[in-house]
């Protein structure tokens, strides 16, 4: 069977039923009620995407023009511009992973940019700690229990309304805090995370009870998923693009569902009283083995990511319920807790590293080149002789977006949103 579900996401039918059948919309109370008295700020939208597991920046935006790149990466190096399966060109040095066709199309319009050597202040290379720091906006893990995005809402002043949401079963730390937010996930946990299932199958390998039970259960469930999808893939319920992607075979990696999630989020954000700020989590970027290059484990995740962003962009540009183009007022920031080692490891993957790529997208983005400096991959420039060296503090990137897009002043950014960070300047020139 070639049609694998987007991990953790159930069928499209389930998603539709949850979203439209159960009155989800009532949760997003009027947020932009106070019109345009604030100079259009209330029209601005921000989506923050947290990629968990350590997304490999050198594959997301491969520096194929960097002379050290191909040798360091060996079998997982993305090919040069113009080669089959090669990088999609951004400039003389950088391209995008070949799976990111929608992102590339936006980049050509000046609506997508990369920050190729960005890192949080954390240097421990622990997922849990690094994700904490990425999301709490502090300098150390466990230091702050609320997220910087929630505190940004606080800094924006009272609205008396719910104006932020997250996609997923629970709110990520970045959105947790004093300000009320909502979260939405399709299907109420009917899906199963293929990653967890895989780990458990390994753990159960010699378990005479649990091993066969889980294998049997998963087989039954994936059959049920296919059946539901086939049912959902009726012309009435599925956009043609989704069906084509589904029929293209196993490489779609759940792209139709991911795209659907993007349009669902866009639908939430373009309702008359929709959410202005959203947080999205994606996981399974911890590619220690068999990472692949143009195709493979990571490519599969990136296909989903691209489809999600494509759906989000399409949905915001042409709101399903009518209304004006919202994409032109939108900024999307994608970040991960850390990058991965510059060198390929012994199992065709990469291990926990330091700097990675952050992705910026949106119609509100200012045209420009890469954000921050590129330290190069020359051996003497690698951080601790293994990782991409950070040249930009993640907080500076976030601050630049929050200041210029959402109008939060520097003083609040330095104290409330990112505590004790006066020395980290907002990056200028990101937003129109």
């Amino acid at each position: 069977m070639s049609n694998h579900g987007f991990p953790g996401r159930p069928s499209r039918r389930g998603a539709l039923a949850s979203a439209f059948g159960l009155g989800i919309s009532i949760q997003f109370l009027g947020t932009r009620a106070f019109a345009d008295a604030d100079g259009g700020l209330s029209r601005r939208r921000l989506v923050v995407i947290i990629c968990r597991g350590g997304l490999d920046g050198l594959s997301l935006s491969p520096p194929v023009g960097d002379s050290a790149y191909a040798a360091l990466r060996g079998p997982i190096a993305i090919g040069g511009f113009g080669q089959p399966g090669g990088a999609l060109k951004l400039d003389g040095t950088f391209g995008l992973h070949p799976s990111l066709t929608a992102v590339h199309a936006l980049a050509l319009k000046g609506q997508a940019r990369i920050a190729p050597a960005v890192a949080t202040p954390d240097r421990e290379r622990s997922h849990f700690e690094a994700q904490d720091v990425l999301e709490n906006g502090g300098r150390v893990a466990y230091g702050v229990t609320s997220g910087w995005l929630n505190r940004a809402l606080e800094a924006m002043g009272p609205s008396g309304k719910v104006r932020a949401m997250s996609l997923g079963p629970t709110a990520p730390l970045v959105l947790r805090g004093k300000i009320e937010t909502v979260s939405w996930s399709p299907g109420g946990g009917q899906g199963h995370d293929t990653r967890l299932a895989g780990i458990l199958q390994d753990l159960y390998a010699h378990d005479p009870l649990l091993g066969p039970a889980l294998a049997g259960g998963l087989a039954t469930q994936s059959m049920a998923t296919v059946v539901t999808q086939e049912e959902a893939a009726q012309p009435a319920s599925a956009p043609a693009a989704d069906m084509m992607a589904t029929n293209a075979g196993g490489k779609s990696g759940g792209a139709p569902q991911a795209r659907r999630m993007g349009t669902m989020l866009a639908a939430f954000m373009t309702q008359p009283a929709g959410a202005q700020v959203a947080a999205v989590e994606m996981d399974a970027f911890d590619t220690h083995a068999r990472q692949g290059a143009a195709e493979g484990l990571l490519a599969t995740r990136l296909v989903s990511l691209d489809a999600f962003l494509d759906g989000l962009q399409a949905g915001l540009s042409h709101p399903a319920g009518g209304g004006p183009d919202a994409w032109r007022d939108t900024v999307v920031v994608l970040a991960t807790e850390f990058g991965r080692t510059a060198r390929v490891n012994g199992t065709g993957g990469t291990d926990h590293g330091t700097a990675s790529t952050a992705l910026l997208l949106g119609g509100a983005l200012k045209t420009g080149g890469i954000v921050g400096d590129w330290p190069t991959l020359a051996q003497n420039r690698l951080f601790e002789n293994r990782d991409t060296a950070p040249t930009l503090d993640m907080r500076g990137l976030f601050k630049g977006v929050l200041r210029d897009h959402l109008g939060i002043d520097r003083a609040r950014l330095d104290t409330l949103v990112f505590p004790d960070s006066a020395q980290v300047a907002p990056v200028s020139g990101l937003v129109v």
Binding site: Y142, T170, D193, A213, G217, D283
Partner: protein, 462 residues
């Protein structure tokens, strides 16, 4: 037999208890046997709440529901419909509240061996909400008939269970009338049928006391049912103070002596069946039946015969003293085998997950959905036999996927900012295997780490 103290501490808390809360294994390590023994106390298990709802209250609510339904049928009008719905909702909320309270006790109690012991006996004397009328009575039944007696004499527990309105309703004893009783004679003249209902008598023999291996006959069952006629519930038309409580209805009782399993019981009204129960409680068959069930519940689906014999002797030597039996179990070396043989039931799984994370469940809807999806609908075992002990019953493929899905949904929030490896150490102590520890350390997120812990072979077992 020398067993590592660390393993003993982990076994004490996870096998005899309900899973470790933070620091619990450390406390048990000082003296694992004493840790368990100190939880045994003559006054019984803990009530699920302070001043828990009573059977009498619930009987009145049920009567209101029946009355509303009757009116609806007669009237088929408009507003009675809502009255029925409301009355039904009251009963449903009652049962949900009882189950939630019981679960919260299990999740928070520092005396989890005591609670497991109580849950064992509640399951031994099953009353199931699968039968409508009993649904709102299961909670009061556990609090009134089971918990006070679980460390007393087995005979008292048996009588308390068999005289409780919940059991009398559940196993249809309330409608059982002696064929030659005054009530039956009176009904004959009006053309109404009245007669024996053997249900409770049979289950007392088969499930609660001697077990089928004792070799009783159908005649024994019928005779015991006759002896029990009259055991019922006080009607709501009588003394309102006693409404819904146990009552012996003299006029429903079958007159005459009974022969049960070779013994003669002269007519003694209510005391006739009590005398039967006294002998049943003292029977070596009951000693064996209870012992093998205990060993099966606490130690292994197929327990060591040595352990069963040890328990049986304790039971017989002490006249069915359940405190002594609990002490015997705790000091039996066979019960401390480091290899876990028991696969957790869904309830045990969820309770232990909540204990491991120190999360107190508050959403009955979600809990009910989860338990139902894993095959253990709250308060609703499918038969008077109660919930099964065997791993195969609970380890069905779909149920494992359901456990995985639940863990996945539960873990991110439950783990919060905590290190899943620390939770694993707290939850399993020396029972945590290197394989699982490594998998947790490699987890991509805290939530995933906790999911791996909860779904690990050692956490799924006890």
């Amino acid at each position: 037999m020398t067993i590592d103290r660390n393993i003993e501490a982990a076994v004490a808390v996870t096998r005899f208890g309900l899973g470790a809360r933070a620091g619990e294994i450390d406390r048990a390590r000082i003296d694992p046997h004493a840790y368990l023994a100190s939880q045994i106390r003559p006054q019984g298990a803990d009530p699920t709440q302070d001043a828990p709802p009573t059977t009498a209250q619930r009987e009145k609510e049920y009567a209101a529901f029946k009355e509303a339904r009757k009116l609806e049928k007669e009237d088929s009008g408009n507003k009675t419909d809502d009255t029925v719905k409301m009355a039904r909702r009251v009963l449903r909320n009652d049962a949900a509240g009882d189950f939630l309270a019981r679960t919260q006790l299990a999740v928070t109690t520092p005396n989890a061996f005591r609670e497991r012991w109580a849950l064992f006996w509640a399951n031994h004397f099953t009353v199931s909400a699968a039968k409508n009328q009993a649904a709102a009575l299961v909670g009061p039944f556990e609090n009134e008939a089971i918990r006070p007696h679980v460390f007393g004499r087995f005979e008292d527990l048996l009588v308390a269970s068999s005289t409780h309105p919940a059991m009398l309703h559940y196993l249809d004893q309330v409608g059982s009338v002696g064929p030659d009783s005054p009530v039956a004679q009176g009904r004959q003249s009006t053309g109404k049928r009245a007669g024996l209902n053997e249900n409770l008598a049979r289950e007392i023999l088969e499930l609660h006391t001697v077990g089928v291996e004792a070799g009783y006959t159908q005649a024994d069952v019928t005779e015991f049912a006759r002896a029990m006629t009259g055991w019922g519930v006080d009607g709501l038309d009588g003394d309102p103070e006693r409404a819904g409580e146990f009552k012996f209805h003299e006029r429903m009782h079958e007159p005459g002596a009974r022969m049960i399993m070779g013994r003669r019981y002269p007519d003694g009204g209510e005391d006739q069946a009590r005398a039967v129960m006294r002998d049943l409680a003292a029977s070596p068959h009951t000693a064996h039946h209870v012992s093998i069930k205990l060993a099966r519940h606490f130690v292994a689906d197929d327990p060591s015969p040595i352990l069963v014999e040890r328990l049986r002797r304790s039971y017989l030597d002490t006249g069915g003293n359940l405190s002594a039996l609990a002490h015997t179990l705790v000091v039996s070396p066979e019960a401390w085998d480091p290899t876990p043989q028991k696969f957790k039931t869904p309830y045990e799984f969820l309770v232990s997950a909540w204990r491991a994370t120190e999360v107190t469940p508050r959403d009955m809807g979600a809990m009910s959905a989860a338990l139902t999806s894993m095959g253990q609908k709250p308060f609703a075992p499918p038969s008077p036999k109660g919930w099964a002990e065997e791993a195969q019953e609970w380890c069905a493929p779909d149920a494992i996927v359901k456990r995985m899905n639940w863990s996945e949904g539960f873990s991110p929030t439950a783990c919060g900012d905590r290190d899943p490896m620390r939770l694993a150490d707290n939850a399993l102590g020396a029972r945590l295997t290197p394989l699982v520890a490594r998998a947790i350390s490699r987890a991509e997120t805290r939530g995933e780490g906790l999911s791996i812990l909860l779904m690990s072979p050692e956490f799924q077992r006890r």
